[in-house]
Symmetry: C2
Subunit: 188 residues, 2 copies
DNA sequence: ACATAAAGAAACAGATTTGTTTACCTTATT
DNA sequence: AATAAGGTAAACAAATCTGTTTCTTTATGT
């Protein structure tokens, strides 16, 4: 059981490929060849491709949010600084060499059905991110912290898509500028 | 030649299905059955599925921007009002019964290759939208109109994704509030 | 070293994909 | 009415997709 388990490695590979090429466009065969894992082993761990997608999204949700929060708290010391550090972390993310937008936004684009588990986990991810920002806003003694969280999260979404589609390397800074105004007004 | 040409009808159907179900998930057979057009006819008009996708995006680009600009100018009378009307138009769009996010954002999620024509047209669409907003900002005598256009476009992207993924019906209003601040500061 | 469990390789099945081709039908125009 | 264009329907091809199965190899624990 030690060693990077086949299961984990499959999920890792799935995240990489689904991010870059999308969900439908990434075939099982290709994924398995990339991971160097046999089909039998995969179907032993996951009942279907959709289950693998789901597991990949779960893992990504956990890892991404953890790293994101750590990075934010590394940059920002005061709660107010942390709120703005969100966009510094975003900037690093966007201008890295393997940025293909948000896995969850992309997932919703391919799986729009209302009751899909993929839909649900994507929505949930955004809710958890909102919860984190809301917590930071509370810590910063923002009276209307919910409204500020709404605004900052929307700015983050906007910067992600702007970086992805328009490929504007300034996306994070544009958002940060508006975030500064939002925080300033929320604290006034 | 029947009145609504087969070509136009195919494009119309393509837009509807690609919007709702995505690009890879929408098979040619299904599209043709929905449109009530034979396969032969389709391949007479479009050399491949990708060409049909491209034509659909072209058509959508034209129709969407035209309708969008008309709607904005219907609501806002002064240039400054028009800048904010963007988000009223967005609100109507989001809360309509067939909103599945932005076709171009979704397209990039499925076709991330750098040199793809699908990528190019999506990027171009955003550029044209930016150009429109930039023009409005100029008309409103905003000194740094480019920066304001950057901000308002990012807010629009953010509201689209927030409405699509988080399904927050307030998305447009949250963005509008920040847009008001942005315009106010740009005019100060 | 041996027994047992796990993984790989590859064939296979069945559905579905894009795209081509063949044969027939409908309809406008001359 | 004959012709020609443009349409449908359906069979077909070849590739690819998800998922199953079989047989073999490789590790691991005792």
């Amino acid at each position: 059981m030690p060693r990077p388990s086949r299961r984990d490695h499959l999920i890792e590979t799935a995240i990489t490929l689904f991010c870059e090429h999308g969900y439908h466009a990434t075939g099982i065969d290709r994924l398995l060849a990339t991971a160097g894992v046999s089909k039998k082993t995969m179907y032993q761990h996951f009942r279907s491709k959709e289950e693998l997608i789901y597991a990949a999204l779960q893992q990504y949700d956990s890892v991404f949010r953890n790293n994101f929060m750590k990075a934010v708290e590394d940059i920002g010391k005061t709660p107010e600084e942390k709120l703005l550090a969100i966009f510094d972390v975003a900037e690093t993310w966007f201008n890295g060499n393997k940025f293909f937008g948000c896995m969850f936004i992309n997932a919703i684009g391919e799986y729009s059905e209302q009751e899909s588990p993929i839909r649900d986990i994507s929505k949930q991810f955004k809710k958890l991110m909102w919860g984190y920002v809301n917590g930071l806003a509370k810590d910063a003694c923002v009276k209307n912290h919910k409204a500020l969280a709404d605004e900052l999260c929307l700015l983050l979404e906007g910067s992600i898509v702007t970086a992805q589609v328009s490929q504007n390397p300034q996306a994070a800074f544009i958002a940060k500028k508006m975030a500064q105004r939002a925080v300033q007004e929320a604290l006034a």
